[in-house]
């Protein structure tokens, strides 16, 4: 017995490794480029989902035509009303709920199916992978909004159908990311080691590959979220997404389009919210990416 002594223990502080590590990770997120956009997103989220009940706002579409275009700061209508007399604050917050639900739903749809397809395409490289990849290429090469327009039009405008239409082409983006990352991980020797321990393909995908690609997939999810939000807004604007009277940021802009000169705020307010949300998601994605670059790679 000559070698039973562990080497290099002095280099690594040994006590309480776990908690220390978590603390360290938390600190890596504690910087303005992460916190500011995250706080804005959180605020918008809270305002949209808790605001209407908290402030006892009227329902967004029960306005009275006698309240036509009340200005900002009117009693009972903090942000005024639109041309149908609907409360704008309520429209914006409830519209935000719908926009967020649709874009998160569409993103989640893409994330689940796209990642699954991408991982399978990367793991079973040969025939299955080639076929799946061609399919993803077809969806990807195609301008997304056109397909979404087609799907939405043929399904008919509704919240659920909008999620399907946008989610469908999100599949391709997630599929590509997941496939590229899977190809990277599959080359690793620990996959060979796992296989030679008799572990099945799906088990390897779930226990080895998914944990190693999850970070990149979630980083992309923020970007996909901002795309989905734009797509929702564009579809609803074209009248193919969320149908009126259900408000969404996109259809508020679309339905008030012709009052642009008369009441520009009807368009500017949802536009600002849309912009703040998308920009925060983009900034957060950048900030997290930076963090990854500095601590992991």
């Amino acid at each position: 017995m000559t070698t039973a002594t562990p080497t290099n223990t002095s280099m690594i502080p040994t006590s309480k490794r776990g908690p220390r590590l978590r603390l360290y990770r938390a600190r890596a997120y504690r910087k303005p480029s992460v916190i500011v956009p995250a706080a804005i997103l959180l605020f918008i989220l809270l305002a949209c989902f808790a605001g209407p009940t908290l402030f006892h706002l009227p329902k967004p579409s029960v306005g009275n035509l006698s309240d036509y275009l009340l200005p900002i700061g009117s009693p009972h209508h903090l942000l005024g009303t639109n041309t149908l007399g609907n409360d704008m604050l309520s429209q914006l917050l409830v519209g935000g709920q719908i926009t967020i639900i649709v874009s998160v739903g569409a993103m989640a749809l893409g994330l689940v199916f796209g990642t699954l397809i991408g991982m399978i395409a990367g793991y079973y490289e040969r025939i299955v992978g080639a076929v799946l990849m061609r399919i993803l290429d077809i969806i990807f090469a195609f301008p997304d909004i056109i397909l979404a327009v087609a799907i939405a039009a043929y399904l008919g405008p509704s919240v659920i159908n909008t999620i399907w239409a946008i989610g469908f082409f999100n599949i391709a983006g997630f599929g590509r990311i997941a496939r590229a990352q899977t190809l990277r991980v599959v080359r690793m020797d620990f996959i060979v080691a796992g296989r030679s321990s008799g572990i099945s393909g799906f088990s390897i995908l779930w226990t080895h590959i998914w944990p190693n690609i999850a970070g990149r997939v979630f980083a992309y999810a923020l970007i996909a979220l901002s795309y989905a939000m734009m797509a929702e807004a564009s579809l609803s604007f074209l009248g193919l997404g969320v149908p009126i009277p259900t408000p969404s940021w996109g259809n508020i802009i679309g339905s008030n389009q012709s009052y642009m000169s008369l009441a520009p705020l009807l368009i500017v307010m949802p536009a600002i919210l849309l912009f703040a949300t998308i920009a925060s998601a983009n900034l957060l994605a950048d900030g997290l990416q930076e963090k990854r670059a500095s601590t992991i790679e």
Binding site: T7, R17, A193, S197, N212
Partner: protein, 355 residues
């Protein structure tokens, strides 16, 4: 003389004479995209290789970079499966990928990889990594945990201290110890070691080599050792095979091969290390780069870099044949004791004219 192996930790030959790994006419090829062509080119990584490793024995495979050592090792694990040829481990034909062999696989063969950072899943804890090969063995959780702790202790790690860590929280030497524990925890019949110490620093290298030798003696393991470093080979191996462009050139016991290499390639490999070359033999140098495995030379693959090549070497591929007891060589003009070809006419056995 190659006298250093007397002092090695290698125990006397433990081979039982019972074949554990039988490789017959193994072929592995990869297709790579060819520039400016619609068709792919074929890389011949392992070309018609046959050998046997007995239970309890260590066979080392040495060769220049790119000679196909890793490809051979990975093919034995079925990653990817061979293009042609047979692999039998402990009586199981592992080229057949059915459920029974899959279940038995973790007991049949495990591998220790060249690069520890790629061999360990960075998202897994040491405990989980080492217990992976036990998953399909039908052990209880308690049995599994005990086996893992035992094995960790045996490779010089402290289960309490190390088993919750991720690989990135370990040093290179510790990582390789985890990889060794992972490979040996299920007591595989055959362990493939692909340059197990190349990635480590010198001091850690000798510790790990000693550990591998101890574990082998203790558990009666069978190693297929792939190495660049001939000193490591001397410490661990019973027999050595040299490999060049996917072919086995020579195969003999460690003592024989180091003292009287019969293949010019083997002699050249040994010449590269001053202490190995007996003074009375001429030094051979490997000239230039090895040819591309996409389009290997005809006849003997080594002839383009061989000092003794003749016309026949370009046309007839030499067969592996016994030139001395226990020494097999694939060369038309094998070297004699003085380090120069002993004949001027190719032997009929190497030409393949004798059945």
């Amino acid at each position: 003389m190659a006298a250093r192996n007397i002092g090695s930790v290698n125990s006397p030959h433990q081979s039982s004479g019972e074949p554990l790994l039988v490789v017959t006419n193994l072929v592995q090829e990869f297709s790579v995209p060819k520039r400016g062509s619609l068709r792919n080119a074929t890389v011949s990584a392992v070309a018609d290789v046959s050998f046997v490793v007995d239970r309890g024995e260590t066979l080392a495979i040495v060769g220049e970079t790119g000679s196909g050592k890793t490809s051979l090792a990975r093919t034995l694990l079925g990653a990817p499966p061979p293009k042609k040829g047979g692999i039998t481990i402990d009586g199981h034909d592992v080229t057949k990928r059915n459920r029974a062999t899959r279940k038995a696989q973790s007991r049949l063969v495990q591998m220790i990889f060249q690069d520890p950072s790629s061999a360990l899943d960075p998202t897994w804890s040491v405990q989980r990594i080492v217990s992976e090969p036990l998953q399909k063995l039908g052990l209880s959780r308690q049995e599994r945990d005990d086996r893992v702790a035992d094995t960790l202790r045996r490779v010089g790690l402290n289960p309490e201290r190390h088993s919750r860590r991720r690989p990135s929280e370990l040093s290179g030497g510790q990582q390789q110890r985890v990889a060794i524990a992972r490979a040996l925890v299920g007591r595989p019949a055959l362990t493939v070691l692909d340059e197990p110490v190349t990635a480590l620093d010198a001091a850690t290298q000798s510790q790990v080599v000693e550990l591998l030798a101890e574990l082998k003696n203790e558990f009666g393991l069978t190693y297929l050792l792939i190495a660049h470093d001939l000193a490591v080979v001397q410490q661990l191996a019973d027999r050595v095979a040299t490999m060049y462009l996917g072919k086995i050139c020579e195969e003999a016991s460690v003592a024989t091969l180091f003292s009287t290499p019969a293949h010019p390639y083997t002699a050249a490999l040994l010449s590269a290390i001053p202490s190995f070359t007996p003074d009375e033999r001429p030094r051979l140098r490997l000239l230039g780069e090895p040819p591309s495995p996409i389009d290997p030379p005809t006849g003997c693959r080594f002839r383009t870099r061989c000092a003794f090549a003749q016309e026949v070497c370009a046309t007839v591929e030499p067969r592996l044949r016994e030139v001395a007891p226990g020494q097999n060589v694939a060369c038309h003009f094998p070297l004699g004791a003085d380090g120069t070809p002993s004949t001027t006419v190719p032997a009929p056995e190497s030409l393949g004219t004798v059945a």
